[in-house]
Amino acid sequence: MLRVLVPLVAGMIWLVLATALVGFLPGRLPPPDVVLIVVIIFGFRYSLPLGGGLSFLLGLLQDVLSGGVIGLNALSKTVVFSLTRVIARRFYFSHWGSKIAMVFLGGVVDGLLTSVILFIGGGIHIPGAVLARMLLLHILCTGLLSPLVLVITPRFSDLGERGNEDIFHYEGKKARTRGI
């Protein structure tokens, strides 16, 4: 129970902090997507059902708090989590640069997926150049914030019980979590 609640609470705290502190950012900058960074951390640490469920819930919460289409971030964050987990199982992510690069990649996937869904639903009617600029700025802001979130969140999550989900099955043998 604790290992579900602790990361969920960690994600919610980041979300509440982000919503309250975005006002301090310069006006033209988009808010960094803290949930995306937290979801990528989940991708390194948790199993598909646990991490996927947590990513879905945090995405849903983000949708509700932003007043937008419910399910949009829930879907994109679940996809980003799955992608991170697939990549993390195949490559060794020990260097901080690689983890931050994963945040940038996740940002691109999240942004493109959101744009495509909004485009299909008729929710986007802005020029492609403006959309691309917004997307790039959004990814950049998220990437710049990522070192802080990447350092703090795993320490907080360690307060929860660490169970079998931290162990990956690799070629029939158990191996410790790679990366964070």
Partner: protein, 276 residues
């Protein structure tokens, strides 16, 4: 044959994605707005949001009033004490003057617009770059209802999108989903202002034959039934007339600085009509 026990993680992810897609399709088709979910989550999240807002505000005030005065320790004790005292007093007076100025503007505005209004404080901002919204500390308990216009003395801020008993989500005019019927003040030509999702708006459906210049003031037309007529929305910052097409491309710079929003006014007009 696929072993479902070994694939249950993948299956779970697929179910989650299908659920999310189902939610999205329900909203796109207009069968479900998600009001209940918004209401429940806003009830839960509003208190911690208020708490964080209060803490951040206190820290900022502390830094502005105390920590920034630490450098004066290099001077002698008496002068430092005196300077600190005077600066703090000065800061407080300046802050008080700013507050009085803001409130005076709000009062003047209230006199100009003949409608019942309530002041509200901005307590949170949208966590998503895709939706430009803010959360205010007034909700159903204070008489705030969906669709009500939100303004400041500078101009139009947006309209109420979601409400809960103690707080409301406001859709800003710069959001992509916002559209308002407007007039160009100088020529009285009508158009529709839509947000671009960044910090600007676009004036849509403005005929290429009509006169418009950079710096023209854009005001609400009052035709949508939500915003009273004559409220400032912004001024044109770019006018582009292409060689083809029926309309001109006009960029509007909102008169409200959304990065510095602290207090807003909710106009309590009991209208059900929607704009845009």
């Amino acid at each position: 044959m696929v072993d479902l026990r070994r694939r249950r993680g993948t299956l779970f992810i697929v179910i989650l994605i299908v659920c999310a897609a189902f939610f999205i399709s329900l909203q796109i088709s207009g069968r479900y707005g998600g009001d209940f979910l918004h209401n429940v989550v806003l009830r839960i999240i509003s208190p911690p949001q208020r708490a964080v807002h209060w803490v951040s505000k206190s820290i900022r005030t502390f830094f502005e009033h105390h920590v920034l005065l630490v450098d004066l320790k290099k001077e002698n004790l008496r002068l430092r004490e005196e300077v600190r005292h005077l600066r703090r007093e000065n800061d407080e007076l300046r802050e008080a003057a700013h507050t009085v100025e803001r409130l005076q503007h709000l009062l003047l505005f209230k006199k100009l617009v003949p409608a019942a209004m309530i002041p509200a404080e901005v307590i949170a901002y949208s966590p998503s770059a895709w939706f430009r919204t803010i959360v205010i500390n007034k909700g159903l308990r204070d008489g705030v209802q969906k669709g009500m216009p939100v303004v400041t003395w500078e101009g139009v801020v947006g309209k109420v999108m979601r409400t809960s008993p103690g707080s409301s989500v406001i859709l800003l005019v710069i959001d992509r989903n916002s559209s308002i019927d407007v007039l160009v003040q100088r020529t009285r030509t009508r158009g529709i202002v839509e947000g671009d999702g960044g910090s600007r708006c676009q004036l849509r459906y403005f005929p290429r034959t009509d006169d418009i210049q950079v710096g023209d003031l854009i005001i609400t037309s009052g035709l949508g039934g939500i915003f009273p007529k004559g409220l400032s929305l912004g001024e044109t910052s770019k006018v582009e007339k292409k060689d083809y097409g029926l309309f001109q491309v006009v960029e509007v710079r909102p008169s409200v600085d959304f990065s510095r929003l602290e207090e807003v006014m909710v106009i309590l007009s009991p209208t059900e009509e929607r704009e845009g």
